[in-house]
Amino acid sequence: MALIVSVLEQGLCYAIMALGMYITYKILDFPDMTVDGGFPFGICLAVVMIRAGVQPILTLPICFTAGCLIGVCTGIIHVVFKVRDLLAGIIMMTGLYSVNLRIAGRANLPMYDYYTIFDNRLMNGIFGSIPVLAKFQSVIILVVITAVVKLILDWYLKTRSGLMLQAVGDNDVLVTSMGVDRGKVRITGLAIANGLVALSGAIYAQQQRYFDVSMGTGTAVIGLASVIIGTALLKKLSFFKVTTSVVIGAIVYKACVAIAIKCGLQSTDLKLITAVLFLVILIITRDRKRKVEA
């Protein structure tokens, strides 16, 4: 039971990041490595703000906005300076490592004694009065936040701006034909994606209650794996919206990692598990694609 709760907590924390990567990887066809710096950026920003006395709930919109700015930077490097997508992300990721250290002031920053969105008077009051739910306090709060973010994203993708975003990944010639600057659409997409990533970091920070500078390593891989699992699942379960299946993908991925660790691997092997699992997923899904085409 504790394992399931932990998997759900971790999975849902990463789910919003995966939604961001869905925008870049699946819609824009842009493997965005910025995430490895953007996710810990959200974490350290949230930790520093909460330690400074900012309302935990306020850190979410602030981190989202700050993340958007990071996405704009990646976008400008890619669109204006014509740096290749992967390299643009790596440049940002590398730079952000130092930025994060600057913001945090040191490599490790705890905040165990502060209220968070999961642990505060209001939430403790609500869940304290219903003992059955107390164990699931974090999970329930996470479900609500993830659902809200997912619904907003669903709504956005149906707006004119959202349709343009999907069009630019699909066929950017058409976007130009519609009299729209495809570079701007790409930058907008990267901004929203990285906003979601930093928001996800801010939530993760409050669940983990500390910042460590190495927390970002492998985030992009986790996100991509979640997106790929999610979209592969979608082929089987087509009644789900793609955003829903990406959220499920993130949870499934975390469950796989948890199972691997349960099977005797050490938590120090985490990144290796992350990498190998991603490779396995890539191989399996590509295999499936080939069968369909044949």
């Binding site: 149906k158 707006t159 004119r160 999907q166 699909d170 066929n171 058409l174 130009t176 034909s177 009299g179």
Partner: protein, 257 residues
């Protein structure tokens, strides 16, 4: 009115492969004219369209629309009043979206792509009406992904999409070349209908000599970056594909082929 004035264009300047395509190229297209352009590969037809649309920049010279120089406008800015259909049917539509979403995107051209609802359901009947005019049965397939349509159906949708909003020019870049003869005929008929209805200034590049003589008010033949034949009105009506073919052969002989 569209004017190309003293256009110069070199490809691969400064290298051994340097090739001068346009050397003082001039063209004037009055409002409402339907121009058919023929010419061998490499004669500069598509380059001309690209220079008009801003997809490539001329080295020198001006592109004037109603007397205003648009040479410094970016491609997407020029496309606000230009509709363009490409040879490749997949370039004019979004394959992963359904017909309704594609038509909605085209319908919103020129407006702000903001946070309003992308699909205006009140316009659905209007879209159905337009699709019905194609005669391809697409009016019942609003929710079908465009990627699963045939090339001809896609090209028909693309043609519709590029002419949905008011436009100054329609640019057709061999838009029937990738289609089978029958579908090509349907698309060509449709083109004629739309051009006449909208009275839009049109430049159509084609390799089909029959289309070039049958359709349009003016016929241009291009060769090595210049116009070698320019017939309009009665003169054009008297042209037939054989005459053009003959001219084609003459040029090839001159080139030593």
């Amino acid at each position: 009115m569209l004017e190309l004035k003293s256009i110069y264009k070199n490809y691969n300047p400064g290298s051994v492969n340097e090739m001068c395509l346009f050397d003082d190229f001039n063209l004037t297209v009055p409002d409402g004219q339907f121009v058919a352009v023929v010419g061998s590969n490499g004669s500069g037809k598509t380059s001309m369209l690209n220079i008009i649309c801003g997809s490539i920049q001329a080295d020198r010279g001006e592109v004037l629309v109603n007397g205003v120089n648009i040479s410094n406008e970016r491609d997407y800015q020029r496309h606000r009043t230009i509709g363009r259909v490409y040879q490749d049917p997949s370039k004019g539509t979004c394959p992963s979206m359904n017909i309704l979403e594609n038509m909605s995107i085209a319908d919103n051209k020129g407006k702000r792509y903001g946070l309003q609802s992308g699909v205006n359901h009140k316009r659905k009947d209007y879209y159905r009406e337009l699709l019905k005019g194609l005669g391809l049965g697409l009016e019942d397939k609003l929710y079908t992904k465009v990627g699963s349509l045939s090339g001809g159906q896609r090209q028909a949708v693309a043609l519709l999409m590029s002419t949905m909003t008011p436009l100054e020019f329609l640019i057709l870049d061999e838009h029937t070349a990738a289609l089978d003869p029958k579908t090509a005929d349907i698309i060509m008929e449709l083109t004629e209908k739309i051009v006449r209805e909208k009275k839009v200034t049109t430049i159509m590049v084609t390799h089909n000599l029959r289309y070039a003589t049958e359709y349009g008010d003016r016929l241009l033949m291009m060769h090595e970056g210049s116009v070698i034949l320019d017939k309009a009105g009665e003169e054009k009506k008297n042209m037939n594909p054989e005459q053009i073919m003959h001219l084609f052969n003459e040029i090839s002989v001159e080139c030593g082929n």
